[in-house]
Amino acid sequence: MAREESKISPEDSQQPNSAAGNSQNVDDLFSPRFKSAAAMAGWDEEALIIASLVVEDTPDRQQSKHRKRSGLTFNTPPCSNSRRKRRIQRRSIVSTPIAPLNLEEEEDQQQISKQENEKESMEEKTSVEDEKKAKVNEPAPLHCMDKLREELSCAICLEICYEPSTTPCGHSFCKKCLRSAADKCGKRCPKCRQLISNGRSCTVNTVLWNTIQLLFPKEVEARKAAGREIECQGRESGSRSSSSSRRTRTRARVQDPALAARLQREDLAQLVNTNTNTTRRGTPVRGRRENDLSRLVSAGRRRRGTPGQDEDAAIALRLQREEFMEAFRGGSGQNNQQVRIPLSSARANLRAMATRAINRGRPV
């Protein structure tokens, strides 16, 4: 309020001046470009003067004359709105781009910091940021989330598409899944069996991938962490498959807990190494991606946080591995606990069916 009054008083004192020397005023108020535009729009000098008054009305003209003028060319018709109304409109223009998915957050803030003066901008920024934080924290209340999940999951791994790649026939799969499908099952679309020209040169469908990252940030993070683990397992699976054939032949030897524990420890060392490597290697790529996705600030923010998270993930994996080793030493039973719960229920179902079958068989 106080601010408004202070703004109005100099304007009021200026107004008579501008009314007196109008032609001169028009000259230094409007750029030649604007004047030609006004002429094209069929404005006479009077209209221009009225416009100039309206322009003077606007609160922060002094700070940013140039922008205001160029802005005016778009907002042209200086309709007879009251001052307050116009101000409200102006402000609403600034605050509208707070999209629900908080894209362009950074841009907004830059615009705001340019346009608003110090105090005001500080206030607005904080309020805007508060709003945004609230929006980030609360899960998107989409009732169609399940359908989206189904729609955006890969038919090969049945999980949310990770770096989706789209075939020429329009079906999307994880890039890795599609590549291994092309390698192992021939170059045909897994869904419609149409020929895929070259499964090896799959590119990520950026729009889809960004959408997935926005909709399912948790899944994507989990998958990223799991991806590293799978990589490691993939490397060890080579040795493991050869050892598994050995295992079938001389089961007793491989079941020796000491040997298995040693294998696990080697895996662990490998795991920790690769994790540190990926964090180091990961940073430049991350930077480049950030440029690409500078508009997806929410995603970007998450990414900026990842170096720490990578280490966390490494530690978590290590702990998991250690637990695994413990369980291996202690006996195989405990480890399967989580898997067993759904398993046992399924098995119970089957048993019920089987007994029903027997019972039905008896009277016949």
Binding site: A155, C157, R193, P342, L343, N349, L350, M353, G361, V364
Partner: protein, 176 residues
């Protein structure tokens, strides 16, 4: 009787699985994860007249049942199937074997099954649910042109009534 046999065999393999192959369930590979996903989807939304679940603790070895669809000579029979997933599962088809005897031109005496989607036309986008649906479909529509037992196929083409009679008899004997 047959059902009892199937049950005992499943419990014996449970013991075997607990002994040697638990590794595959704990170090969850990509294929293991996919199988787990399929399992949870099967539990959440089971297909009609079918069921499938891991035999023991080994995720890669399942047992499934298909109930003979009404309007066919297999009506009311419960057919047990053994499903073995290869280690690179979604990229290789699962091996499906009938454990219950069935009089069908596409199923041989050992229970092997000739189904195109389990051989050359396998696609990684197919799931066990779809495979079971396909198996139910060959109950209603046997394919006598790519038979495993040519005698049955010939009988099916020549004298369908006789074929159906024998099939119903077998269903009664082995699958009820």
């Amino acid at each position: 009787m047959l059902g009892g046999g199937g049950k005992s065999s499943s419990s014996s393999t449970t013991a075997a699985a607990a002994g040697g192959t638990w590794v595959s369930t704990t170090s969850v590979s990509a294929s293991g994860r996919r199988i787990q996903r399929e399992m949870s989807e099967l539990n959440a939304d089971p297909p009609p007249h079918c069921s499938a679940a891991p035999k023991g603790d080994n995720l890669f070895h399942w047992v499934a049942t298909v109930i003979g669809p009404p309007g066919t000579p297999y009506q009311g029979g419960i057919f047990f199937l053994d499903i073995t997933f290869p280690s690179d599962y979604p990229f290789q088809p699962p091996k499906v074997v009938f454990k219950t005897r069935i009089y069908h031109c596409n199923v041989d005496a050992a229970g092997n099954l000739s189904l195109d989607i389990l051989k050359d036309s396998w696609s990684p986008a197919l799931t066990i649910t779809k495979v079971l649906t396909a198996i139910r479909a060959i109950f209603t529509n046997p394919d006598p042109y790519t038979p495993l037992i040519s005698g049955v196929a010939r009988l099916y083409l020549a004298d369908k009534a006789k074929h159906d009679e024998i099939a119903a008899e077998w269903t009664l004997r082995f699958a009820k």
